[in-house]
């Protein structure tokens, strides 16, 4: 029994009035509102998330026939992937004529929403940004996308499957969080890691086809206000119990929000576990763009450099994502991007990022497991342990400052 108060009952079985009030209270980007509202409208249905591989294979093959117009394509070897935390992922082999001429065989990846996800995101946003980033940083090619549940029962995208290493031998960390890299790996990967982040932030998004993103004004708080409103809304929609520190932190974040001079593409989850490298130690893919948005580059910097995502080296020095010391990370980033690294803004976005991590890993992870809405219910419960550490960091940051004024 979880729903003991009227507010808890509304979260579990939202009424139309409650959904309308939540939407009005937290103004977010159009497409974010779309997926969050769809989640709430579906929450009342008492359905466990189940994926039957046979049915999925049939529906996927039917979709591929329709989208390619090729009844003679060969679809085989649908296999579930391990390692993710938010989307159901499968690989499969496809033999078809991509441009209508010669037949080719490719291994592809299906990335599909579960009933409710630890992060509710929009497949069209992810697709548009992956396509925009082609040639800027290494990303997988997206072949098809359906941001609706029409074809497979859940939104999805299909992309090329890239071979490479996400977790080094013995990494063994949930979703790659806080992973250790041996010195020889660090030496080769760290500069690439920073350079790709700089390239993402230097990308001129105004020239790209990003219709699924609302475009924030320059020299304005709008971009960060959308970001905060998104996480605040998700907290109030998903949490199973109230937590006073979360309301305190949200109040602090509103009171101290800086303007964003020049909005950039913010990856939103740039860390170890979200890039892949080849045997010759070349980063061949930056992955998991689902949390990307337009905002302040300090949001990514603070996130990537947060202690909770770091790993100490052999001498106990904390390394950013297990790769390089914090000072070196910021110095190299500034050199490669030309963008300023402002300690005050880093602090602000450190608070925002820990708030976001707590929303994801305390509220949404437990909500999805409570509703049995994912393929990873046991993992979602376990991940709350990560969320409470994020809450602890949040408390220490705000406790040190001690200023809601």
């Amino acid at each position: 029994m979880i729903d003991r108060t009227p507010t808890q009952r509304l979260r579990s079985a939202p009424t139309a009035d409650w959904i309308r009030d939540v939407r009005a209270r937290f103004p977010v980007e159009r497409t974010i509102d779309e997926v969050l509202t769809r989640k709430l409208k579906g929450r009342g249905r008492p359905l466990e998330h189940r994926t039957d591989p046979g049915t999925l294979a049939q529906r996927l093959e039917h979709y591929l026939h329709a989208v390619t117009g090729q009844p003679d394509l060969e679809f085989t070897n649908l296999q579930r992937l391990t390692g993710g935390a938010s989307k159901e992922q499968f690989t499969f082999d496809l033999r078809w004529r991509p441009d209508g001429s010669a037949r080719v065989s490719r291994k592809l990846i299906l990335r599909m929403d579960p009933g409710e996800s630890i992060v509710e995101t929009h497949r069209l946003r992810e697709t548009q940004l992956l396509r925009a980033m082609a040639g800027v940083v290494p990303v997988p090619e997206v072949l098809w996308v359906d941001p609706t549940p029409e074809h497979l029962g859940h939104p999805f995208l299909i992309a090329e499957f890239l071979r490479g290493t996400v977790q080094p031998e013995g990494g063994d960390k949930a979703s790659g969080l806080g992973m250790y890299f041996a010195p020889d790996l660090r030496a080769e990967l760290k500069v690439q890691f920073v350079r790709h982040l700089a390239s993402i932030h230097r990308f001129d998004w105004r020239t790209a086809a990003l219709s699924a993103y609302d475009h924030p004004r320059t020299d304005h708080r709008e971009a960060t206000a959308w970001s905060l409103a998104t996480w605040e809304r998700v907290w109030h929609e998903d949490t199973l119990e109230s937590h006073p520190l979360m309301d305190y932190a949200a109040a602090w974040l509103k009171a101290h929000m800086p303007a964003v001079e020049t909005p950039v593409v913010v990856h939103g989850d740039y860390r170890s576990g979200n890039f892949m490298y080849t045997d010759d130690l070349r980063i061949n893919a930056v992955l998991d763009w689902e949390l990307a948005h337009l905002g302040d580059h300090h949001e990514d910097l603070a996130y990537t450099a947060s202690d909770i995502l770091g790993c100490p080296d052999e001498n106990g020095t904390m390394l950013v994502c297990g790769l390089l010391p914090r000072d070196e990370f910021f110095a190299r980033y500034h050199e490669l991007s030309g963008l300023p690294v402002d300690p005050e803004r880093l602090f602000y976005f450190e608070v925002l990022n820990y708030y976001k991590m707590a929303v994801i890993a305390v509220a949404t992870s437990l909500r999805t497991a409570h509703g049995r809405r994912t393929h990873l219910d046991a993992m979602m419960n376990l991940l709350s342990g990560f969320g409470y550490i994020a809450l602890s960091h949040l408390q220490r940051l705000l406790g040190d400052r001690s200023n809601l004024q």
């Binding site: 108060t5 109230s242 046991a378 550490i389 408390q395």
Partner: protein, 191 residues
Amino acid sequence: MGPEISQFLAGMKKTVEQVVLPNLHDRFAQEQAGIVAATLAFLEQVHDKVFHYELLEQHLYGRLLRQILELLSVPEVSDPEIVDTLAGIQRQLAEDPRGDIHLYSYDYLRASNESMKELLCALIRQQPALPDALRTTLEADLLQPFFRDLEQRERSWVKPLGFDAQAAQLPDIAELLYRDNRLQLPGDGPP
């Protein structure tokens, strides 16, 4: 009454680790079974402390809300929303049994605790409307010490889940809850 829950959990964990996992050949199934084993290990550590954890929270939230009432029940506090929340706090505290709360069910405790948390959260959202001096006192004297205590308790609770790089420096939850095998409630002195 037997077997004890710890025995059930230990038996399931051993079966998953030694029988199920080695015989699974699907990587996704292996990953999930490993998570189930880790969850059982966590439950072994905390299952017998859940009621006392909630009982302690009942006392701590109750004490904080009484202190807030005492601080803010003054003429300078006139914002209608805050006045309304303070009235809600008063009603909640009047409804809850105090002396024999330990005799109530776990479900009752959870419900009461959540009601108190919701009221505290509402007040925190409304606090920008408080006069500056009261707001500063509320934050420095009441909220910050409460948050420090809460952080330590929650972090010790999730310590066995294995995410915490500083786990070695953290007390076990039992060390925080008990002294001489007795739950340490507010006023009993530091555990």
